[in-house]
Amino acid sequence: MTTEPRWKRARGWMDLRGRREGGLAFLLMRLTGIGLVIYLFLHLYVLRLLAQGPEAWDAFIATAKSPLFLMLDGILILGLLYHAFNGVRVTLLGLGIGVPLQARLFWGVMVLTLLLTGVAVYAIFALTG
Amino acid sequence: MAYHVVVIGAGSTGAATAHDLALRGFRVTVVERGEVASGTSGRNHCLLHSGGRYAMKDPESARECIAENMILRRIMPDALELNDGLFVALDEGDLSFKERFLAACEECGIPAREIPVRQALALEPHLNPGIRAAVQVPDGVFEPLRFCLSFLATARRNGATVLTYTEVVDMVFQGRTVAGVRVRDRRTGQQRTIGADVVINAAGPWAGRIAAMAGVDVPVVPTAGVMISVGRRWNRMVINRLNLPGDGDIIVPQRRTAIIGTTSWKVEDPDFIPIPEDHVRLLLASAERFIPGYTQGGIRGVFAVARPLVGRRGVAADGRELSRTFECFDHAADGVEGFVTITGGKMTTARAMAEKVVDVVCAKLGLSIPCRTHEVPLLPYRAFYELT
């Protein structure tokens, strides 16, 4: 149908020029989704340390409490919360619920995500002292 | 037989002509320099005339309109909104035309019927409550691009070739006979010659330019008009002023819009028509008299296009004086064979124009094949794209 190669055509969903909230929400959903899949693999891989016994795991726990690691946790939670809240938004919209409100819902998702991420980051640093 | 006919222009006239030719068994090639309906046919008022508008002053045109209106209802129902029209009297002056209008409509065979003002206002609640009289006629509304596409789709199905973005740059002569056209494909820039037994000039307001290429003259007077579309459909029926045709005296509803029109002035170059600001003001003031608050909801689009009116010797004026009927010129009379111009008319009468020009072509070629376009239903417009 087009002369463009498939992969080039597929870049279209990354092109934010002229797009509005819905398109941005979709792109962020994609990016957080990809990030979360990568994290899932990492997470399961790291958990193998549990099989190796207490030393291996507790050594990991110690490094996991470094500020850099905790920062990464913060980013993870940011992506996770966005994916979760926007997932609810997209499910509703996909069933035709709240379509006229979709842009406002997106900003609601953003506010909720940032707010809860803030709380979570605070909790993380408070818990690990 | 299989004579080859080239039709120049894919507006309503060219499209209907191609359909008629294909139906009568000709080989047909339509050449159009732009998109289908990118000229006058696309940008018009979308009014399927009942003929009422011309009944008093131009009965010939009015008769053509009502006859074609009834045919189009049968052959292209899915390009039409059929909600009738109202002629309303805004003042005493208009009211004095009422009897004459009803008589003229009857004379032309237009089923016009006066309805009580109260009923008119019930039907059209946004209408100025001060109207003095209302007459209902079988006006309608069409979608201009689809109107043309339906004809072309059917022509294509019957074997016609439609070349869009293909511009005629010259005529090809054999002696004093037009034997084809030299065209330029605007997509590739390449030129080629298309041979033809007959070339039909259906270029609307550009017909004069095409005729000049063949060294003949056609009295086409490009006469522009302005129209304004607004963000709300205020009326269900077409609202006309009960008077002689004038500026800004008709509001055509379509889809979710209403369109006020028109004005009339002669233009030299129909390629680009700057819109006079005072015409816009005049139209909006006029619309306000029919439908108070007409521009509430915003102005959506303002556009102008040239009508291809046929000039009469001795008639100058602004174009309102020129008849809306159509004419077919066999340029054999000017000493050029194989070249016919069809111009003038209304979109509503496109099919009749096609019938007339193809009759002329048949006569030239010594054929007698009856026209069937009045009884053959057209394909839906989307079929045009199915066949690309």
């Binding site: 149908m1 087009t2 002369t3 055509r9 597929a10 279209g12 969903w13 092109d15 020029r17 002229g18 797009r19 509005r20 909230e21 819905g22 398109g23 929400a25 979709f26 919209l93 996909g94 069933l95 035709g96 379509v99 842009a103 | 998109e35 309906a37 990118s38 046919s41 696309g42 940008r43 899915d78 909104e81 059929l82 009738d84 309805i115 039907l123 609640p125 209902q136 201009p144 691009l145 689809r146 973005y165 605007r186 997509r187 590739t188 129209m227 459909r233 269900r236 509803p253 379509q254 889809r255 979710r256 819009t257 680009f272 600001e277 959506r300 689009g301 556009f303 989307r382 794209y385 199915e386």
Partner: protein, 238 residues
């Protein structure tokens, strides 16, 4: 009279397109289509673009203006600043024929497959009495088949077999106001891997629609019809 700067995408298939700058003098009350038509009339007779009705009824003049899908005929120049270029490019996700021109036939064939009827009941004035001799008030469907929604849709970018927002909305309209259409056939058309389930709710179709169609909501309703249908079949055991 202000002078407007337009950057139009120029080129033909086979060669990489480029943006060419034109200057055109027009009043601020004019529309983008006037500017493009004037450029064609006075500066560049090779410019390819589609247009017909100039009042958003025919759906021919869809392009991307500064990246966003618009109809040129209802995009007023006063929206733009004369010293800032207006970038005009063809719609995406259609075969490109050159300059601003695309081939809309893939979309039209899909609309044809749906059998989308163009005339609908007129609900704007439905509460009023009908004139004598008129059986029902009708008007054209909202959808003008301009293809803006297809160009704006990120799924369309990815899946050329995707039915697309306009077609799915057309299916939904045919179900909502049945006009002789076969409900089962329409639902089956929508219930396809390249149909209604492919949508990712980016909502751009509804955001760019110039004609109040709201395809995103239509897709949602279609999904509800399909889910209800599946549930009924599952509970009813056949």
């Amino acid at each position: 009279m202000p002078t407007w700067q337009l950057r139009l995408l120029r080129g033909r298939p086979g060669n990489p397109p480029r943006l060419q700058t034109y200057r055109v003098e027009l009043p601020a009350e004019a529309y983008l289509i006037d500017a493009v038509e004037k450029i064609w009339a006075e500066q560049d007779r090779d410019l390819l673009f589609r247009h017909a009705c100039h009042h958003a009824s025919c759906g021919a003049c869809g392009v991307r203006v500064n990246g966003r899908e618009r109809l040129m005929c209802i995009t007023p120049l006063r929206e733009f600043a004369p010293d800032r270029p207006i970038v005009v490019e063809p719609l995406r996700h259609f075969p490109w024929l050159g300059d601003l021109l695309v081939d809309v036939s893939p979309m039209m064939r899909r609309m044809m497959a749906v059998g989308f009827a163009v005339i609908r009941r007129d609900e704007l004035t439905a509460d009023r009495p009908l004139p004598e001799g008129v059986e029902k008030a009708t008007r054209f469907e909202d959808c003008i088949e301009c293809g803006l929604c297809l160009s704006a849709c990120p799924v369309m970018a990815a899946d050329e077999a995707y039915l697309g927002p306009a077609t799915l909305a057309a299916i939904e309209r045919m179900l909502a106001e049945p006009r002789g259409a076969d409900r089962g056939r329409l639902l089956a058309l929508a219930d396809d891997p390249h149909g209604v389930w492919r949508c990712h709710s980016a909502m751009e179709c509804t955001a760019v629609c110039p004609s109040n169609v709201d395809p995103a909501a239509a897709i949602g309703r279609l999904r509800r019809y399909l889910l209800a249908e599946k549930l009924r079949r599952w509970l009813g055991g056949g």
